[in-house]
Protein backbone atom coordinates (compact mmCIF):
# COMPACT_ATOMS: atom_id res chain seq x y z
CA UNK A 1 0.00 0.00 0.00
CA UNK A 2 1.17 3.51 -0.80
CA UNK A 3 1.75 5.48 2.38
CA UNK A 4 1.33 9.21 3.11
CA UNK A 5 4.33 11.48 2.65
CA UNK A 6 5.17 14.40 4.90
CA UNK A 7 5.92 17.51 2.85
CA UNK A 8 6.63 19.84 5.75
CA UNK A 9 5.55 20.42 9.32
CA UNK A 10 1.94 21.18 8.38
CA UNK A 11 1.46 19.49 5.02
CA UNK A 12 0.99 15.84 4.09
CA UNK A 13 0.53 14.21 0.72
CA UNK A 14 -1.56 11.15 -0.08
CA UNK A 15 0.16 10.12 -3.32
CA UNK A 16 -1.77 8.95 -6.37
CA UNK A 17 -2.40 5.26 -5.74
CA UNK A 18 -3.33 5.73 -2.06
CA UNK A 19 -6.73 4.52 -3.31
CA UNK A 20 -7.55 3.37 -6.84
CA UNK A 21 -8.31 5.80 -9.68
CA UNK A 22 -7.01 8.99 -8.06
CA UNK A 23 -6.54 11.72 -10.66
CA UNK A 24 -4.59 14.07 -8.40
CA UNK A 25 -2.86 13.56 -5.05
CA UNK A 26 -4.55 14.23 -1.73
CA UNK A 27 -3.10 17.00 0.43
CA UNK A 28 -3.84 17.39 4.12
CA UNK A 29 -2.83 20.50 6.05
CA UNK A 30 -2.29 19.34 9.62
CA UNK A 31 0.17 18.90 12.44
CA UNK A 32 1.37 15.34 13.03
CA UNK A 33 -1.12 14.72 15.81
CA UNK A 34 -4.07 16.07 13.79
CA UNK A 35 -2.99 14.03 10.75
CA UNK A 36 -2.72 10.86 12.85
CA UNK A 37 -6.32 11.40 13.97
CA UNK A 38 -7.39 11.74 10.32
CA UNK A 39 -5.77 8.40 9.51
CA UNK A 40 -7.48 6.72 12.46
CA UNK A 41 -11.02 7.79 11.61
CA UNK A 42 -10.87 7.17 7.83
CA UNK A 43 -10.98 10.85 6.90
CA UNK A 44 -7.67 10.47 5.00
CA UNK A 45 -9.20 7.70 2.89
CA UNK A 46 -12.10 10.03 2.09
CA UNK A 47 -9.65 12.75 0.99
CA UNK A 48 -8.17 10.21 -1.44
CA UNK A 49 -11.63 9.13 -2.63
CA UNK A 50 -12.44 12.75 -3.56
CA UNK A 51 -9.28 12.75 -5.71
CA UNK A 52 -11.06 10.34 -8.08
CA UNK A 53 -13.63 12.99 -9.14
CA UNK A 54 -13.50 13.77 -12.87
CA UNK A 55 -11.94 17.14 -13.68
CA UNK A 56 -10.49 17.71 -10.20
CA UNK A 57 -7.47 20.02 -10.36
CA UNK A 58 -4.43 20.55 -8.13
CA UNK A 59 -5.12 18.18 -5.28
CA UNK A 60 -7.96 16.92 -3.11
CA UNK A 61 -7.45 19.05 -0.02
CA UNK A 62 -8.30 18.80 3.64
CA UNK A 63 -8.04 21.42 6.35
CA UNK A 64 -6.56 20.70 9.80
CA UNK A 65 -10.00 20.12 11.39
CA UNK A 66 -10.80 17.26 9.00
CA UNK A 67 -12.72 14.25 10.22
CA UNK A 68 -14.73 11.35 8.86
CA UNK A 69 -17.74 12.62 6.95
CA UNK A 70 -20.02 10.97 4.41
CA UNK A 71 -18.47 10.88 0.94
CA UNK A 72 -16.36 14.01 1.30
CA UNK A 73 -14.51 14.32 4.59
CA UNK A 74 -15.61 17.21 6.78
CA UNK A 75 -12.91 19.82 6.16
CA UNK A 76 -12.59 18.77 2.51
CA UNK A 77 -11.93 21.14 -0.40
CA UNK A 78 -12.01 20.15 -4.07
CA UNK A 79 -11.74 22.38 -7.15
CA UNK A 80 -13.09 21.10 -10.44
CA UNK A 81 -12.48 22.68 -13.82
CA UNK A 82 -15.41 23.19 -16.22
CA UNK A 83 -12.88 23.29 -19.07
CA UNK A 84 -11.72 19.71 -18.42
CA UNK A 85 -15.13 18.09 -17.86
CA UNK A 86 -15.03 18.84 -14.16
CA UNK A 87 -17.99 17.77 -12.08
CA UNK A 88 -20.29 19.15 -9.45
CA UNK A 89 -20.94 16.95 -6.41
CA UNK A 90 -23.71 18.09 -4.03
CA UNK A 91 -22.10 15.88 -1.36
CA UNK A 92 -19.10 18.23 -1.58
CA UNK A 93 -21.29 20.96 -0.11
CA UNK A 94 -23.30 18.77 2.24
CA UNK A 95 -26.85 18.79 3.52
CA UNK A 96 -26.63 22.00 5.53
CA UNK A 97 -26.07 24.23 2.51
CA UNK A 98 -24.69 27.64 3.46
CA UNK A 99 -24.15 26.71 7.10
CA UNK A 100 -21.90 29.31 8.65
CA UNK A 101 -20.91 31.61 11.44
CA UNK A 102 -21.38 35.28 12.24
CA UNK A 103 -19.85 37.46 14.91
CA UNK A 104 -21.45 40.54 16.45
CA UNK A 105 -19.36 42.91 18.55
CA UNK A 106 -20.51 45.21 21.34
CA UNK A 107 -19.01 48.17 23.20
CA UNK A 108 -19.46 46.28 26.45
CA UNK A 109 -16.56 44.82 28.40
CA UNK A 110 -16.58 41.69 30.58
CA UNK A 111 -17.24 43.76 33.73
CA UNK A 112 -20.38 45.25 32.17
CA UNK A 113 -21.87 41.75 32.10
CA UNK A 114 -21.20 40.63 35.68
CA UNK A 115 -24.56 40.27 37.47
CA UNK A 116 -26.41 40.70 34.17
CA UNK A 117 -24.84 37.64 32.55
CA UNK A 118 -27.54 35.25 33.78
CA UNK A 119 -30.27 37.62 32.60
CA UNK A 120 -28.76 38.03 29.14
CA UNK A 121 -28.17 34.29 28.69
CA UNK A 122 -31.79 33.63 29.65
CA UNK A 123 -33.08 36.43 27.39
CA UNK A 124 -31.13 34.99 24.45
CA UNK A 125 -32.55 31.56 25.26
CA UNK A 126 -36.05 33.01 25.05
CA UNK A 127 -35.50 35.21 21.98
CA UNK A 128 -33.94 32.52 19.81
CA UNK A 129 -36.08 29.54 18.71
CA UNK A 130 -34.04 26.32 18.77
CA UNK A 131 -34.12 22.55 18.94
CA UNK A 132 -36.22 20.13 16.91
CA UNK A 133 -39.51 21.52 15.65
CA UNK A 134 -38.52 25.10 16.52
CA UNK A 135 -40.46 27.74 14.59
CA UNK A 136 -38.48 30.72 13.36
CA UNK A 137 -38.66 34.35 14.51
CA UNK A 138 -39.71 35.59 11.06
CA UNK A 139 -42.63 33.58 9.67
CA UNK A 140 -43.05 33.69 5.92
CA UNK A 141 -46.13 33.48 3.79
CA UNK A 142 -46.59 32.29 0.24
CA UNK A 143 -44.08 33.81 -2.14
CA UNK A 144 -42.06 35.53 0.64
CA UNK A 145 -39.85 32.46 0.55
CA UNK A 146 -38.78 33.19 -3.03
CA UNK A 147 -37.62 36.65 -2.01
CA UNK A 148 -35.56 35.20 0.86
CA UNK A 149 -33.99 32.72 -1.57
CA UNK A 150 -33.16 35.48 -4.06
CA UNK A 151 -32.24 38.39 -1.80
CA UNK A 152 -30.73 36.82 1.34
CA UNK A 153 -29.83 39.30 4.06
CA UNK A 154 -31.39 42.30 2.34
CA UNK A 155 -34.84 40.68 2.52
CA UNK A 156 -34.51 40.21 6.28
CA UNK A 157 -33.37 43.82 6.66
CA UNK A 158 -36.36 45.03 4.63
CA UNK A 159 -38.61 43.10 7.03
CA UNK A 160 -37.03 45.03 9.90
CA UNK A 161 -34.54 42.39 11.05
CA UNK A 162 -31.31 44.37 11.20
CA UNK A 163 -29.61 47.49 9.94
CA UNK A 164 -28.91 48.47 6.31
CA UNK A 165 -25.14 48.38 6.86
CA UNK A 166 -25.21 44.74 8.06
CA UNK A 167 -25.21 43.42 4.49
CA UNK A 168 -21.78 44.77 3.60
CA UNK A 169 -20.26 42.93 6.57
CA UNK A 170 -21.24 39.55 5.14
CA UNK A 171 -19.39 37.40 2.62
CA UNK A 172 -20.84 38.26 -0.80
CA UNK A 173 -22.41 41.32 0.85
CA UNK A 174 -25.18 39.11 2.18
CA UNK A 175 -26.60 38.01 -1.16
CA UNK A 176 -25.27 35.15 -3.27
CA UNK A 177 -25.62 35.98 -6.95
CA UNK A 178 -27.03 33.43 -9.39
CA UNK A 179 -29.59 32.10 -6.93
CA UNK A 180 -32.59 30.55 -8.65
CA UNK A 181 -35.60 30.00 -6.39
CA UNK A 182 -37.34 28.09 -9.19
CA UNK A 183 -34.78 25.29 -8.80
CA UNK A 184 -35.71 24.74 -5.14
CA UNK A 185 -38.50 22.17 -4.72
CA UNK A 186 -41.86 23.00 -3.18
CA UNK A 187 -41.05 20.52 -0.43
CA UNK A 188 -37.88 22.36 0.46
CA UNK A 189 -39.72 25.68 0.46
CA UNK A 190 -42.44 24.19 2.67
CA UNK A 191 -39.77 23.24 5.21
CA UNK A 192 -38.21 26.71 5.00
CA UNK A 193 -41.44 28.69 5.42
CA UNK A 194 -41.64 28.21 9.18
CA UNK A 195 -37.94 27.99 9.99
CA UNK A 196 -36.46 31.40 9.13
CA UNK A 197 -34.79 32.74 12.26
CA UNK A 198 -34.35 29.44 14.10
CA UNK A 199 -31.07 28.04 15.33
CA UNK A 200 -31.73 24.33 14.76
CA UNK A 201 -30.13 21.60 16.86
CA UNK A 202 -26.95 19.50 16.92
CA UNK A 203 -23.77 21.56 16.86
CA UNK A 204 -25.55 24.85 16.16
CA UNK A 205 -25.27 27.40 18.93
CA UNK A 206 -25.15 30.99 20.00
CA UNK A 207 -22.44 32.14 22.42
CA UNK A 208 -21.60 35.24 24.41
CA UNK A 209 -17.84 35.55 24.20
CA UNK A 210 -15.10 37.85 25.48
CA UNK A 211 -12.03 38.72 23.42
CA UNK A 212 -9.18 37.42 25.57
CA UNK A 213 -6.17 37.68 23.25
CA UNK A 214 -5.25 39.83 20.27
CA UNK A 215 -2.63 38.34 17.94
CA UNK A 216 -2.83 40.87 15.09
CA UNK A 217 -3.46 44.37 16.37
CA UNK A 218 -3.90 46.01 12.96
CA UNK A 219 -6.48 43.50 11.73
CA UNK A 220 -8.28 43.51 15.10
CA UNK A 221 -8.56 47.31 15.05
CA UNK A 222 -9.82 47.21 11.49
CA UNK A 223 -12.57 44.77 12.55
CA UNK A 224 -13.43 46.83 15.65
CA UNK A 225 -12.13 44.19 18.07
CA UNK A 226 -10.26 44.87 21.31
CA UNK A 227 -9.26 42.87 24.35
CA UNK A 228 -11.96 42.29 27.01
CA UNK A 229 -14.72 43.19 24.55
CA UNK A 230 -18.01 41.28 24.65
CA UNK A 231 -19.09 39.66 21.36
CA UNK A 232 -21.78 37.19 20.29
CA UNK A 233 -21.15 34.32 17.88
CA UNK A 234 -23.96 32.59 15.95
CA UNK A 235 -23.58 29.21 14.19
CA UNK A 236 -26.50 28.04 12.04
CA UNK A 237 -27.46 27.16 8.48
CA UNK A 238 -30.27 26.71 5.99
CA UNK A 239 -32.34 24.36 8.20
CA UNK A 240 -34.76 21.88 6.60
CA UNK A 241 -34.80 23.84 3.35
CA UNK A 242 -31.13 23.11 2.69
CA UNK A 243 -31.35 19.50 3.86
CA UNK A 244 -34.26 18.86 1.50
CA UNK A 245 -32.54 20.56 -1.44
CA UNK A 246 -29.39 18.46 -1.08
CA UNK A 247 -31.54 15.33 -0.73
CA UNK A 248 -33.53 16.25 -3.87
CA UNK A 249 -30.45 16.77 -6.04
CA UNK A 250 -28.56 13.77 -4.70
CA UNK A 251 -31.56 11.62 -5.61
CA UNK A 252 -31.77 13.06 -9.14
CA UNK A 253 -28.04 12.57 -9.69
CA UNK A 254 -28.05 9.09 -8.14
CA UNK A 255 -30.73 8.03 -10.60
CA UNK A 256 -28.32 8.74 -13.44
CA UNK A 257 -26.05 6.00 -12.09
CA UNK A 258 -22.71 5.85 -13.91
CA UNK A 259 -24.14 7.49 -17.04
CA UNK A 260 -21.01 9.64 -17.41
CA UNK A 261 -18.58 6.75 -17.08
CA UNK A 262 -17.61 7.52 -13.49
CA UNK A 263 -18.09 4.94 -10.76
CA UNK A 264 -17.58 6.75 -7.42
CA UNK A 265 -15.81 4.80 -4.65
CA UNK A 266 -18.59 5.99 -2.34
CA UNK A 267 -22.11 6.60 -3.64
CA UNK A 268 -22.36 9.85 -1.68
CA UNK A 269 -19.74 11.24 -4.10
CA UNK A 270 -22.22 11.02 -7.00
CA UNK A 271 -21.76 13.94 -9.36
CA UNK A 272 -22.60 15.37 -12.77
CA UNK A 273 -20.46 17.31 -15.25
CA UNK A 274 -20.60 21.06 -14.61
CA UNK A 275 -21.95 21.44 -18.15
CA UNK A 276 -25.01 19.27 -17.33
CA UNK A 277 -28.39 20.93 -16.76
CA UNK A 278 -28.67 19.28 -13.34
CA UNK A 279 -25.41 20.94 -12.27
CA UNK A 280 -26.59 24.42 -13.27
CA UNK A 281 -29.96 23.79 -11.62
CA UNK A 282 -28.18 22.67 -8.44
CA UNK A 283 -25.96 25.77 -8.43
CA UNK A 284 -29.06 27.99 -8.64
CA UNK A 285 -30.73 26.04 -5.84
CA UNK A 286 -27.57 25.92 -3.70
CA UNK A 287 -27.11 29.69 -3.91
CA UNK A 288 -30.80 30.13 -3.02
CA UNK A 289 -30.27 27.96 0.08
CA UNK A 290 -27.12 29.96 0.87
CA UNK A 291 -29.26 33.10 0.80
CA UNK A 292 -31.73 31.47 3.18
CA UNK A 293 -28.87 30.60 5.55
CA UNK A 294 -27.56 34.19 5.41
CA UNK A 295 -31.05 35.56 6.08
CA UNK A 296 -31.49 33.03 8.89
CA UNK A 297 -28.36 34.23 10.69
CA UNK A 298 -29.46 37.83 10.08
CA UNK A 299 -32.81 37.19 11.81
CA UNK A 300 -31.07 35.34 14.63
CA UNK A 301 -28.75 38.34 15.09
CA UNK A 302 -31.80 40.59 15.28
CA UNK A 303 -32.98 38.42 18.19
CA UNK A 304 -29.59 38.82 19.85
CA UNK A 305 -29.80 42.61 19.57
CA UNK A 306 -33.34 42.56 21.02
CA UNK A 307 -32.21 40.42 23.95
CA UNK A 308 -29.35 42.81 24.78
CA UNK A 309 -31.69 45.80 24.45
CA UNK A 310 -34.15 44.26 26.90
CA UNK A 311 -31.51 43.46 29.50
CA UNK A 312 -29.42 46.63 29.22
CA UNK A 313 -32.34 48.97 28.60
CA UNK A 314 -30.46 50.69 25.76
CA UNK A 315 -30.82 50.54 21.96
CA UNK A 316 -28.51 48.04 20.25
CA UNK A 317 -26.88 50.93 18.36
CA UNK A 318 -25.89 52.55 21.65
CA UNK A 319 -24.44 49.21 22.70
CA UNK A 320 -22.32 49.24 19.51
CA UNK A 321 -23.72 45.92 18.31
CA UNK A 322 -22.24 45.94 14.83
CA UNK A 323 -21.81 42.88 12.71
CA UNK A 324 -18.11 41.98 12.42
CA UNK A 325 -18.56 39.42 9.63
CA UNK A 326 -20.56 36.42 8.40
CA UNK A 327 -19.01 33.40 6.65
CA UNK A 328 -20.43 30.23 5.12
CA UNK A 329 -18.46 26.98 5.36
CA UNK A 330 -20.62 24.65 3.21
CA UNK A 331 -20.77 26.02 -0.34
CA UNK A 332 -19.38 25.55 -3.83
CA UNK A 333 -18.21 28.72 -5.59
CA UNK A 334 -16.83 29.60 -8.97
CA UNK A 335 -13.59 31.45 -8.30
CA UNK A 336 -10.42 32.45 -10.09
CA UNK A 337 -7.26 30.72 -8.92
CA UNK A 338 -3.76 30.26 -10.30
CA UNK A 339 -3.40 26.62 -11.29
CA UNK A 340 -0.15 25.35 -12.77
CA UNK A 341 0.82 28.86 -13.77
CA UNK A 342 -2.44 29.99 -15.36
CA UNK A 343 -5.44 31.71 -13.85
CA UNK A 344 -8.56 29.62 -14.27
CA UNK A 345 -12.13 29.78 -13.04
CA UNK A 346 -12.84 26.62 -11.08
CA UNK A 347 -15.70 25.33 -8.96
CA UNK A 348 -14.38 25.17 -5.40
CA UNK A 349 -16.38 22.77 -3.21
CA UNK A 350 -15.95 23.51 0.49
CA UNK A 351 -17.46 20.93 2.84
CA UNK A 352 -16.70 22.23 6.31
CA UNK A 353 -14.06 24.67 5.11
CA UNK A 354 -14.09 28.47 4.96
CA UNK A 355 -13.17 30.71 2.06
CA UNK A 356 -10.24 32.90 3.09
CA UNK A 357 -9.27 35.34 0.35
CA UNK A 358 -5.95 37.10 0.86
CA UNK A 359 -5.66 40.91 0.65
CA UNK A 360 -4.84 40.80 -3.09
CA UNK A 361 -7.62 38.49 -4.27
CA UNK A 362 -9.85 40.34 -6.76
CA UNK A 363 -12.98 38.80 -5.21
CA UNK A 364 -12.37 40.38 -1.80
CA UNK A 365 -14.66 43.16 -0.60
CA UNK A 366 -13.06 46.61 -0.68
CA UNK A 367 -13.11 47.24 3.09
CA UNK A 368 -10.93 44.18 3.79
CA UNK A 369 -8.18 44.90 1.26
CA UNK A 370 -5.66 45.86 3.93
CA UNK A 371 -6.15 42.73 6.08
CA UNK A 372 -7.63 39.91 3.98
CA UNK A 373 -10.98 38.21 4.38
CA UNK A 374 -12.13 37.73 7.97
CA UNK A 375 -12.73 34.09 8.94
CA UNK A 376 -14.69 32.98 12.00
CA UNK A 377 -13.79 29.71 13.72
CA UNK A 378 -16.10 28.49 16.46
CA UNK A 379 -14.53 26.35 19.16
CA UNK A 380 -16.42 23.57 20.85
CA UNK A 381 -18.86 24.44 23.63
CA UNK A 382 -16.87 25.89 26.50
CA UNK A 383 -13.61 26.40 24.61
CA UNK A 384 -12.09 29.34 22.72
CA UNK A 385 -13.19 30.54 19.28
CA UNK A 386 -11.02 32.50 16.86
CA UNK A 387 -11.06 35.29 14.31
CA UNK A 388 -8.61 34.75 11.44
CA UNK A 389 -7.82 36.50 8.17
CA UNK A 390 -7.02 35.04 4.77
CA UNK A 391 -3.56 35.12 3.17
CA UNK A 392 -2.47 35.56 -0.45
CA UNK A 393 -0.37 32.42 -0.08
CA UNK A 394 -3.54 30.34 0.41
CA UNK A 395 -4.74 30.95 -3.16
CA UNK A 396 -2.07 28.65 -4.59
CA UNK A 397 -2.03 26.28 -1.63
CA UNK A 398 -5.68 25.71 -0.78
CA UNK A 399 -7.81 27.61 -3.32
CA UNK A 400 -8.02 30.28 -0.59
CA UNK A 401 -9.54 27.96 1.98
CA UNK A 402 -8.96 27.40 5.67
CA UNK A 403 -10.55 25.46 8.53
CA UNK A 404 -14.14 25.85 9.80
CA UNK A 405 -14.08 24.78 13.43
CA UNK A 406 -12.55 22.47 15.97
CA UNK A 407 -13.67 19.29 14.21
CA UNK A 408 -15.18 16.35 16.03
CA UNK A 409 -12.91 13.70 17.52
CA UNK A 410 -15.44 11.45 19.29
CA UNK A 411 -18.82 9.97 18.38
CA UNK A 412 -21.97 11.34 19.99
CA UNK A 413 -22.68 8.02 21.71
CA UNK A 414 -19.23 7.91 23.33
CA UNK A 415 -19.46 11.59 24.32
CA UNK A 416 -22.78 11.00 26.09
CA UNK A 417 -21.35 8.01 27.98
CA UNK A 418 -18.46 10.02 29.44
CA UNK A 419 -20.55 12.54 31.35
CA UNK A 420 -24.19 13.42 31.92
CA UNK A 421 -25.54 16.69 30.59
CA UNK A 422 -26.13 17.98 34.12
CA UNK A 423 -22.57 17.15 35.18
CA UNK A 424 -21.25 18.95 32.12
CA UNK A 425 -23.44 21.94 32.92
CA UNK A 426 -22.02 22.04 36.48
CA UNK A 427 -18.47 21.77 35.17
CA UNK A 428 -18.97 24.61 32.68
CA UNK A 429 -20.62 26.80 35.30
CA UNK A 430 -17.65 26.20 37.62
CA UNK A 431 -15.50 27.55 34.81
CA UNK A 432 -17.70 30.68 34.66
CA UNK A 433 -19.68 29.65 31.56
CA UNK A 434 -23.45 29.96 32.01
CA UNK A 435 -25.90 27.96 29.90
CA UNK A 436 -29.39 28.88 28.83
CA UNK A 437 -32.02 26.30 29.72
CA UNK A 438 -31.65 23.48 27.25
CA UNK A 439 -32.41 19.81 26.74
CA UNK A 440 -29.84 18.74 29.34
CA UNK A 441 -29.88 15.07 28.40
CA UNK A 442 -28.43 15.92 25.00
CA UNK A 443 -25.86 18.46 26.21
CA UNK A 444 -22.87 16.15 26.53
CA UNK A 445 -23.11 15.07 22.87
CA UNK A 446 -21.48 18.42 22.16
CA UNK A 447 -19.07 18.35 25.10
CA UNK A 448 -15.65 19.99 24.59
CA UNK A 449 -13.91 16.62 24.96
CA UNK A 450 -15.77 15.34 21.86
CA UNK A 451 -13.88 17.87 19.72
CA UNK A 452 -10.31 18.61 18.76
CA UNK A 453 -8.66 21.68 20.23
CA UNK A 454 -9.60 24.63 18.01
CA UNK A 455 -6.37 26.32 19.13
CA UNK A 456 -4.33 23.47 17.67
CA UNK A 457 -6.40 23.63 14.48
CA UNK A 458 -5.93 27.37 13.90
CA UNK A 459 -2.22 27.11 14.76
CA UNK A 460 -1.88 24.46 12.05
CA UNK A 461 -3.72 26.74 9.59
CA UNK A 462 -1.32 29.56 10.41
CA UNK A 463 1.68 27.23 10.25
CA UNK A 464 0.57 26.03 6.81
CA UNK A 465 0.11 29.63 5.63
CA UNK A 466 -3.65 29.30 5.01
CA UNK A 467 -4.72 32.06 7.41
CA UNK A 468 -3.48 34.27 10.23
CA UNK A 469 -4.82 34.38 13.77
CA UNK A 470 -6.24 37.79 14.69
CA UNK A 471 -8.04 37.24 17.98
CA UNK A 472 -9.12 34.59 20.46
CA UNK A 473 -12.49 34.70 22.20
CA UNK A 474 -13.52 32.70 25.24
CA UNK A 475 -17.14 31.83 25.98
CA UNK A 476 -19.03 33.11 29.03
CA UNK A 477 -22.59 32.21 27.99
CA UNK A 478 -23.92 29.41 25.79
CA UNK A 479 -27.30 28.97 24.12
CA UNK A 480 -27.22 25.50 22.59
CA UNK A 481 -29.35 24.49 19.65
Amino acid sequence: MITPRRIDEYEWELPIGFVDDMKVPGRVFASRSLFDKALEDRAAEQVANVATLPGIVGASLAMPDLHWGYGFPIGGVAATDPATDGVLSPGGVGFDIGCGVRLVRTELSRNDLNERLRAIVDALGQQVPRGVGGRGRLPLQGKDIDRVLTEGVSYAIERGAGWPEDARSCEDSGTLANADAAQVSERAKERGLSQLGSLGAGNHFLEIQVVDAIHDQKAAESLGLAEDQVCVMIHSGSRGLGHQTCTDYLRSIDRLGSAFGYQPPDRQLSCVPLSHELASNYVGAMNACGNFALANRQVLMDGVRSAFESVFGRPARDLGMHLVYDVSHNLAKFEEHAIEGTTRTVCVHRKGATRAFGPSHPGLQEQFRSIGQPVLIPGSMGTASFVLTGTDEASAKSFSSTCHGAGRAMSRTKAKKQMTGQDLRSQLETEGILLAKTRWKLLSEEAPYAYKDAGEVVAACEGAGLSRVVARLRPVGVVKG
Binding site: H67, F95, V132, G133, H243, D254, R412, T413
Partner: protein
Protein backbone atom coordinates in the same frame (compact mmCIF):
# COMPACT_ATOMS: atom_id res chain seq x y z
CA UNK B 1 -34.88 -12.38 13.84
CA UNK B 2 -35.41 -8.68 13.23
CA UNK B 3 -33.52 -5.81 14.76
CA UNK B 4 -31.03 -3.04 14.31
CA UNK B 5 -27.84 -1.75 15.85
CA UNK B 6 -26.44 1.77 15.99
CA UNK B 7 -23.06 2.21 14.30
CA UNK B 8 -20.43 4.61 15.63
CA UNK B 9 -19.29 7.50 13.45
CA UNK B 10 -17.11 10.46 14.45
CA UNK B 11 -19.68 13.13 13.66
CA UNK B 12 -22.77 11.31 12.54
CA UNK B 13 -24.60 8.06 13.24
CA UNK B 14 -25.09 4.85 11.30
CA UNK B 15 -27.54 1.99 11.48
CA UNK B 16 -27.34 -1.71 10.61
CA UNK B 17 -30.73 -3.40 10.34
CA UNK B 18 -31.55 -7.05 9.72
CA UNK B 19 -34.83 -8.87 9.13
CA UNK B 20 -36.21 -12.06 7.58
CA UNK B 21 -37.75 -10.23 4.60
CA UNK B 22 -36.94 -7.07 2.71
CA UNK B 23 -40.24 -5.45 3.75
CA UNK B 24 -39.56 -6.05 7.45
CA UNK B 25 -36.01 -4.80 6.82
CA UNK B 26 -37.42 -1.43 5.73
CA UNK B 27 -39.67 -1.43 8.80
CA UNK B 28 -36.69 -2.11 11.08
CA UNK B 29 -34.64 0.61 9.42
CA UNK B 30 -37.54 3.04 9.98
CA UNK B 31 -37.70 2.06 13.65
CA UNK B 32 -33.94 2.52 13.91
CA UNK B 33 -34.00 5.97 12.34
CA UNK B 34 -36.84 7.08 14.64
CA UNK B 35 -34.96 5.64 17.63
CA UNK B 36 -31.82 7.62 16.72
CA UNK B 37 -33.88 10.79 16.18
CA UNK B 38 -35.98 10.17 19.30
CA UNK B 39 -39.24 10.61 17.40
CA UNK B 40 -40.93 7.22 17.85
CA UNK B 41 -44.13 7.11 19.88
CA UNK B 42 -46.13 3.86 20.16
CA UNK B 43 -49.83 4.48 19.76
CA UNK B 44 -52.48 5.59 17.31
CA UNK B 45 -51.83 8.13 14.60
CA UNK B 46 -52.94 9.36 11.20
CA UNK B 47 -51.87 7.17 8.33
CA UNK B 48 -49.65 8.65 5.60
CA UNK B 49 -48.79 6.68 2.46
CA UNK B 50 -45.20 6.42 1.24
CA UNK B 51 -44.43 5.35 -2.32
CA UNK B 52 -40.89 5.75 -3.66
CA UNK B 53 -39.01 4.71 -6.77
CA UNK B 54 -35.26 4.46 -7.25
CA UNK B 55 -32.74 2.60 -9.39
CA UNK B 56 -32.08 -0.15 -6.84
CA UNK B 57 -32.82 -1.23 -3.28
CA UNK B 58 -30.06 0.95 -1.84
CA UNK B 59 -31.62 3.99 -3.50
CA UNK B 60 -35.04 2.86 -2.27
CA UNK B 61 -34.08 2.64 1.38
CA UNK B 62 -32.46 6.11 1.24
CA UNK B 63 -35.59 7.56 -0.39
CA UNK B 64 -37.94 5.75 2.00
CA UNK B 65 -36.14 7.00 5.11
CA UNK B 66 -35.85 10.50 3.66
CA UNK B 67 -39.64 10.49 3.22
CA UNK B 68 -40.01 9.69 6.91
CA UNK B 69 -37.65 12.55 7.82
CA UNK B 70 -39.46 14.95 5.50
CA UNK B 71 -42.85 14.14 7.07
CA UNK B 72 -41.41 14.51 10.57
CA UNK B 73 -39.67 17.84 9.90
CA UNK B 74 -42.22 19.53 7.67
CA UNK B 75 -45.28 18.52 9.70
CA UNK B 76 -43.61 18.46 13.10
CA UNK B 77 -44.80 14.95 13.91
CA UNK B 78 -43.70 11.85 15.81
CA UNK B 79 -43.91 8.45 14.09
CA UNK B 80 -46.26 5.89 15.69
CA UNK B 81 -46.12 2.87 13.38
CA UNK B 82 -44.75 1.66 10.07
CA UNK B 83 -46.02 -0.92 7.60
CA UNK B 84 -44.19 -1.75 4.40
CA UNK B 85 -46.32 -3.58 1.81
CA UNK B 86 -43.91 -4.02 -1.05
CA UNK B 87 -40.22 -3.63 -1.81
CA UNK B 88 -39.30 -4.61 -5.34
CA UNK B 89 -36.06 -3.81 -7.16
CA UNK B 90 -37.13 -0.25 -7.90
CA UNK B 91 -40.21 0.55 -5.85
CA UNK B 92 -41.20 0.58 -2.19
CA UNK B 93 -44.74 1.15 -0.93
CA UNK B 94 -46.30 1.32 2.51
CA UNK B 95 -47.39 3.76 5.18
CA UNK B 96 -46.47 5.29 8.48
CA UNK B 97 -48.76 6.65 11.17
CA UNK B 98 -47.95 10.03 12.70
CA UNK B 99 -49.18 12.33 15.42
CA UNK B 100 -48.08 15.85 16.43
CA UNK B 101 -44.70 16.01 18.16
CA UNK B 102 -45.25 16.59 21.88
CA UNK B 103 -43.03 15.46 24.75
CA UNK B 104 -40.63 13.80 22.27
CA UNK B 105 -39.41 17.28 21.26
CA UNK B 106 -37.57 17.44 24.60
CA UNK B 107 -35.26 14.58 23.67
CA UNK B 108 -35.43 14.49 19.87
CA UNK B 109 -32.23 15.10 17.95
CA UNK B 110 -32.08 16.59 14.51
CA UNK B 111 -31.27 14.07 11.80
CA UNK B 112 -30.58 16.27 8.79
CA UNK B 113 -30.75 13.62 6.12
CA UNK B 114 -30.13 10.03 5.04
CA UNK B 115 -26.86 9.68 3.13
CA UNK B 116 -25.64 7.28 0.44
CA UNK B 117 -22.34 6.89 2.34
CA UNK B 118 -21.46 3.16 2.48
CA UNK B 119 -25.09 2.40 1.69
CA UNK B 120 -25.77 -1.31 1.47
CA UNK B 121 -28.82 -3.58 1.21
CA UNK B 122 -28.22 -7.28 0.63
CA UNK B 123 -29.70 -10.71 1.15
CA UNK B 124 -28.03 -12.91 3.76
CA UNK B 125 -28.40 -16.66 4.47
CA UNK B 126 -30.97 -15.80 7.15
CA UNK B 127 -32.79 -12.88 5.53
CA UNK B 128 -31.85 -9.28 4.66
CA UNK B 129 -29.39 -6.71 5.98
CA UNK B 130 -29.02 -2.96 5.43
CA UNK B 131 -26.41 -0.36 6.42
CA UNK B 132 -27.29 3.35 6.34
CA UNK B 133 -25.54 6.48 7.67
CA UNK B 134 -27.34 9.66 8.68
CA UNK B 135 -26.13 13.25 8.72
CA UNK B 136 -26.69 14.65 12.20
Amino acid sequence: MSGYEILEHTADVGLRAHAPSVTTLFEQATRGLCDIAGIWHDGPGSSVAIDVEARDREGLIVDWLNEVLYLHDSHNVAICSVEVDEVSEQRARGRIAVRPLREEAETAIQVKAVTYHQIDVHETPSGWSATVFFDI
